[in-house]
Symmetry: C2
Subunit: 145 residues, 2 copies
DNA sequence: GAGCTTATTGCAAGCCTTTGCGAAAACTTG
DNA sequence: CAAGTTTTCGCAAAGGCTTGCAATAAGCTC
């Protein structure tokens, strides 16, 4: 199973004409093994357990590659930090409360009508989930009264 | 008129219990005198013409203050750089093409239905225009064929 | 599997932004 | 207007991310 994932990931690289390196394999396996949203720092920490001399810029570059290959997705949250997740987990929109930092996950259905508008009216293909939506959550706005 | 703007801005500070300093006055006047979207660097450059020893962190802090006071607004574009504009210019949404970098300005009407959904269904008060919407513009997606 | 070409890596530096801290300036009071 | 209090400022450092460059390693060819 581990071997299966490894060869699948390596094939994804080779199919695109990219070279298979130990760094890339480890980084890709690491993200595949993590559920939910993780920061680059999280991934870097795990990767270093197996390959201490790897540089964090290689992690950034490999994640970018995985995104290009449709294996990974990243979203920017309000604090500016990007978080990554496996593409298989599916796209979704995030609401972030600017007061308490709470994060809500949203089905893409809710934003699809807007996406459709942008395509129809402007010919613009939006990647709406790329940024979280900032605002104030219910409990924080009630607390403000 | 310059004097009028100055005292209005200084009053905005005093009303909130903030101190009026030369740095703040100059930074606030500078943003008021600039139309459209400007980066912190743009503002900093102008401010330095009048007050060379001012530090850029003071510019950041003053802009934050202006936002709190409802005098300024900032938006994050895809390249991570924030751009500022006077609050009076009104809120609007931005579409940014990830290929060519082109920026489209959008009336808030287009995103209002989504905002309404988020308020109704989640009690979440979104600040939708805080982040630009990333995607691929019409000409870039046609060029890709 | 040795040699060659070219992609990839690690490193260092840089960009944009935020933050802790001591020094300096603004307001307040007598 | 002098002294005291409290905010604000400049500076330096740090955080998250990107990039240029020389050294290294992957993959190709024979």
């Amino acid at each position: 199973m581990v071997g299966e994932a490894k060869s699948r990931l390596n094939a994804a690289l080779r199919d695109r004409g990219y070279r298979v390196t130990l760094q890339r394999s480890i980084i890709m396996e690491t993200l595949e093994g993590l559920a939910g949203h993780v920061s680059v720092e999280d991934i870097y920490a795990r990767v270093r357990e197996r390959f201490p001399q790897v540089n964090i810029s290689t992690v950034y570059r490999t994640l970018e590659l995985m995104e290009e290959a449709g294996l990974a997705v990243h979203t920017h949250f309000d604090d500016g930090v990007a978080k990554w997740h496996r593409a298989e987990e599916g796209a979704h929109q995030h609401l972030v409360c600017r007061r308490c930092g709470q994060e809500l996950e949203l089905d893409l259905d809710v934003v699809e009508p807007l996406a459709e508008q942008l395509r129809a009216r402007y010919g613009f293909q939006p990647d709406i989930a790329h940024f979280a939506i900032v605002g104030v959550c219910r409990s924080c706005s009630e607390r403000a009264q």
